[in-house]
């Protein structure tokens, strides 16, 4: 295989010359990743794997006119600069001609006065290798610190992504994003009076965009402490509980509910809440306000402009439990006769007034989820369920705290958010998944208290 046969400017020129095209969008990404897999080896750390990755993604989305009134074709395709250009464009156009969409057009005009957003950690952007070495040393220190719990393994992934976005209206937008992932696993063992050795572990994971949002030592400390709690556990008594969940869980629940505020759902006949509706009918706890914010410093989906060329500004979706906005890109906005809005950004949830400590005392018995095994959230029904990996049960009548493991919890946002309370303290969370090239972000209360959640032991 040969090297570069054409460049982006040649690609843009080639696309502009194709009369069949009514529009196109190009997203060009270069990325570098460094990864280390660390494990315990007697008294030291050993590196199981050490990886370096260089890659490029160049994806085109083409739109063509169809000989049917009000319809158009669309297709997306990955392009390779090492292969001849014309056949790749031909293939994309040929595919688009076979599809059938309601017609829409990219917005007129170029986005102006775009803000300079913080999307990449400056230190990582400058020296990814240096950061990898520095964090490896910090992880070694955090992992090998003398404790009751035993360090088992850790992973550290760093990456830097440079994006260039172009479209047929002449838009050019460039930005970089840094991503950091780590996981830590500690186990704890003890001998029972029967002589039997028992052992269990705790695994913690964390994504972030900026090093300042990435508390390695704190994460390892918390993981070790929770590992030490894994053996004095009991299953929950079946019943209904007020349940404290953390920001990771709140982020997933609110993002699922926010999907019902999108024009995409409305167009496809999926569950949709229109402006004026109550988000949670009859809610009377801390009333929820939700904003889609693409401007947060080092948010997982911080971006100044969408690929369609729409400037992305914070968008209020819900005010005091009342739906006040609909998230619509140019395509679905045009379909529904709505002005297009922001579609990117972190989900921002308004803070409440409580502290976590007050939440633990909010009822005779309060369950605090430290970790779900695998939270399943159904964005259509607004339901959620999971096995309880580790939790604390605050028995305020007996003034005791029991550690819970096992059993499952199932809830419905419509029911369990009715009297929800939130902490005043807010935190940022990020998540990146193979299923999406972008990330999903959350900024909001560190903890939430849900009411009347079903638990089975």
């Amino acid at each position: 295989m040969s090297t570069l046969r054409w460049n982006i400017e040649q690609l843009k020129t080639a696309l502009e010359k194709r009369e069949e095209l009514k529009g196109w969008i190009l997203i060009h990404e270069h990325f570098k990743r460094r990864e280390r897999y660390l494990m315990h080896d007697h008294t030291t750390l050993t590196m199981d794997q050490d990886r370096e990755v260089h890659g490029e993604n160049l994806r085109v989305r083409v739109m063509v006119l169809l000989p049917k009134n009000g319809r158009q074709g669309e297709a997306s395709r990955k392009l390779f600069t090492s292969e001849p250009l014309a056949p790749q464009i031909d293939a994309a156009i040929e595919a688009a001609l076979q599809t059938d969409y309601q017609e829409w057009s990219l917005p007129e005009g170029l986005p102006k006065n775009l803000p300079q957003l913080k999307t990449a950690d400056p230190k990582m952007a400058e020296d990814l290798e240096g950061v990898m070495k520095e964090l490896t040393v910090r992880i070694s220190g955090a992992a090998l610190k003398a404790r009751k719990a035993k360090f088992n393994s850790a992973e550290l992934f760093l990456s830097l992504h440079d994006f260039e976005v172009y479209n047929s209206r002449g838009m050019i937008y460039r930005y970089s994003q840094s991503r950091i992932y780590t996981e830590a696993a500690f186990s704890f063992s003890k001998k029972l009076s029967s002589g039997e050795m028992v052992s269990d572990e705790f695994l913690n994971t964390r994504w972030a965009v900026a090093l300042d949002d990435f508390p390695i030592e704190g994460l390892f400390e918390e993981t070790a402490e929770r590992a030490e709690q894994t053996l004095d556990v009991q299953k929950p008594e079946s019943g209904r509980y007020p349940v404290i969940v953390d920001a990771e869980v709140l982020g997933q629940l609110i993002a699922a509910q926010a999907s019902q505020l999108s024009a995409t759902n409305s167009y496809h006949g999926l569950p949709f809440l229109k402006q004026g509706d109550e988000l949670f009918a009859g809610a009377k706890g801390d009333l929820v306000s939700i904003t889609l914010d693409p401007s947060l410093d080092y948010g997982a989906d911080t971006v100044a402009v969408s690929e369609q060329g729409l400037v992305q500004n914070p968008l209020k979706l819900v005010e005091q439990n009342r739906v006040v906005g609909t998230s619509a890109d140019q395509q679905f906005g045009e379909y529904l006769g709505m002005k297009p809005t922001t579609v990117r950004g972190a989900v921002v949830l308004s803070p409440g007034s409580m502290t976590r400590e007050k939440m633990t005392q909010a009822a005779p018995r309060v369950l605090e989820i430290l970790q779900f095994s695998s939270l399943v959230v159904d964005p259509n029904r607004g339901t959620f369920s999971s096995e309880i990996r580790l939790a604390r049960l605050f028995d305020n009548e007996n003034k005791s705290v029991k550690i819970i493991k096992g059993g499952s919890l199932s809830g419905s946002l419509k029911e369990n958010m009715l009297e929800a309370r939130f902490t005043q303290n807010c935190v940022m969370r990020a998540n990146f998944s193979a299923l999406s090239s972008g990330g999903s972000g959350y900024f909001g209360p560190e903890f939430g208290l849900l009411s009347n959640v079903s638990v089975v032991g």
Partner: protein, 528 residues
């Protein structure tokens, strides 16, 4: 699988030059004595066509890259790139060598030596005839060996319009059945039919081996919704279009369930007698002693299975036999290979059936390259990665319980009062704590050994979660079905059915995995 009227997927001719270039790299990488060099390359090209009530869509995707690897006796170093020119690959090799040298200079650890298996050693293993038949008789270290999946109807040839016609026919059939079962057209709010066809080329080269494989992965999914309720049918495997034919009759249960879900009751949390279907049984196997038996998890001190394997302690009854098998080239009675199958893994180990749990007693774990060395157990073909850009782990392929001797009819009678759990909704492992989470989309009630047709959702109106302590569950298996559970006659198929599935390592690193097995009756199941 016989090869009458079948073809095999060839090694793409446009990659022949790259193969020659890659073949020069392993020796280049073995710059120091004791270093083991190898190269893995993949190209995965997929085309997804979908039709819903509003539009038809096409999405083409390709991921392609090479991974240069050096094991220095302690760490596996990888340098991965998708810039595949000869010059760049040589540059990347030099960068990799420099990284390994730097690490060698810093480490004082005693290194583990690795002896590269040659073809003689590889052929001494018990291999499936489908693999053996494709290895040339006079094979040497430099012989390009190619494995191609067998197929009847090439899934790459139909035009988009032909495929869209088929997908639109499925939409129409869904609407017709919906009307038949009493769902108004306005209440059938969303219907989607989606076909995925992928060509997956893999290449592994070290100083003793130069082998490639081409897999054709096909899947068909039909989704129907009424308001927030959703039901799904899917078909898929490795092979041709014959693997993803779906008839109107096969769509009928999906739409009937959708109608029943609209009025479904909520389950009262508790302990029940439950008959699991092949796919949900597969999730139990996968989460129970699938993940726990992944060698890297064991080597990191993160699985109780390793301790139990060494102690020989029983963790299940006589029905608790679990296998992992990447060499299922005939998926039960389906005309295709099972979804999680391949000829060799992404570290160049040939696929073999492996017993993970034998009547409640744990066997040696599945391994990737480094975990086999770390644990001192045999290599198995379980080194997999999300893509060339991701790291390799010990992962499952097709994981399932062995078949039993009952028919489905007999097992439903044996349920007495309880539930059928045939529709999965994810799951999660807990290798160290030996807990288990198996998600169930919904349940069907059984009363007096007969199906009532009444469906149940979770206690809050969503999915149902089965939880428990894995050994308790494996000791509560009452009975299992034959592979061909709808017939009294002896099974003709060798392997239980494995459905289309996916798998994460804890919360990331998504890979394809087959998920199946027999029907299985378990008592005292905690559902909530």
């Amino acid at each position: 699988m016989g090869l009458t009227q079948q073809s095999r997927a060839l090694f793409p001719s446009d990659l022949l030059g790259l193969r020659e270039t890659l073949a020069t790299l392993p020796r280049l990488l073995e710059e120091e004595q004791g270093w083991y060099g190898s190269v893995y390359f993949e190209r995965k090209t997929s085309r997804v066509l979908a039709a819903n009530l509003k539009n038809t869509q096409i999405s083409d995707s390709t991921t392609m890259g090479a991974v240069l690897r050096v094991f220095n006796g302690e760490t596996l170093f990888e340098q991965a790139t998708d810039e595949l020119s000869s010059d760049n690959l040589k540059t990347q090799a030099k960068v990799l060598i420099a990284r390994v040298r730097e690490a060698d200079a810093l480490s004082k650890k005693i290194k583990t030596s690795y002896r590269t298996p040659n073809w003689q050693a590889r052929l001494a293993l018990k291999l499936d005839p489908e693999i053996l038949s494709q290895i040339p008789k006079q094979v040497t270290a430099t012989t390009p060996v190619h494995f191609g999946i067998a197929f009847q109807n090439d899934p790459r040839t139909p035009s988009p319009s032909e495929t869209f016609d088929r997908l639109k026919k499925i939409l129409e059939e869904c609407k017709e059945v919906a009307k038949e079962v009493g769902i108004d057209s306005t209440d059938l709010t969303y219907v989607l039919a989606r076909q995925t066809v992928a060509e997956e080329v893999g290449l592994f080269i070290d100083r003793e081996t130069n082998m490639s494989q081409t897999l054709l992965r096909v899947a068909l999914v039909a989704i129907t919704m009424s308001g927030a309720e959703r039901t799904v049918s899917k078909k898929g495997g490795l092979g041709g279009l014959e693997a993803i034919q779906i008839s109107k009759d096969e769509l009928r249960p999906q739409i009937k369930d959708l109608q029943a879900l609209r009025g479904a009751q909520r389950l009262v949390p508790g302990r029940y007698r439950v008959l699991f279907g092949p796919v949900t049984t597969g999730v139990i196997a996968h989460e129970a002693f699938g993940h726990s038996q992944e060698g890297d998890t064991c080597a990191r001190g993160r699985s109780m299975a390793w301790d139990l394997y060494k102690s020989g302690e029983k963790v299940g009854n006589k029905n608790a036999t679990i296998l992992n098998n990447p060499a299922i080239f005939a998926n039960a009675t389906e005309p295709c290979a099972a979804w999680g199958s391949y000829y060799f893994d992404e570290e160049g180990w040939l696929a073999q059936e492996q017993l993970l749990l034998d009547q409640g007693v744990l066997c040696s774990p599945m391994t990737n390259f480094t975990s086999a060395l770390q644990l001192g157990v045999p290599r198995t073909a379980n080194g997999k990665r999300e893509s060339w850009a991701n790291g390799v782990y010990a992962r499952q392929t097709n994981t399932y319980f062995s078949a039993g001797d009952k028919t489905l009819k007999q097992l439903i009678e044996d349920v007495g009062d309880g539930y059928l759990a045939f529709h999965p909704a994810g799951g999660m492992e807990d290798p160290k704590g030996m807990g288990i989470q198996v998600g169930l989309a919904y349940l069907e009630e059984v009363k007096g050994g007969k199906r009532t047709g009444r469906l149940f959702k979770g206690p809050a109106g969503g999915e149902i979660q089965m939880t428990g302590y894995t050994p308790d569950i494996l000791n509560s298996i009452v009975a299992k079905s034959k592979i061909e559970a709808d017939q009294d006659a002896p099974d003709r198929a060798t392997h239980p059915f494995n459905d289309v599935g996916g798998c994460g390592k804890y919360h990331k690193e998504l890979v394809q995995a087959g998920c199946g097995g027999p029907y299985m009756l378990i008592e005292n199941v905690v559902l909530g």
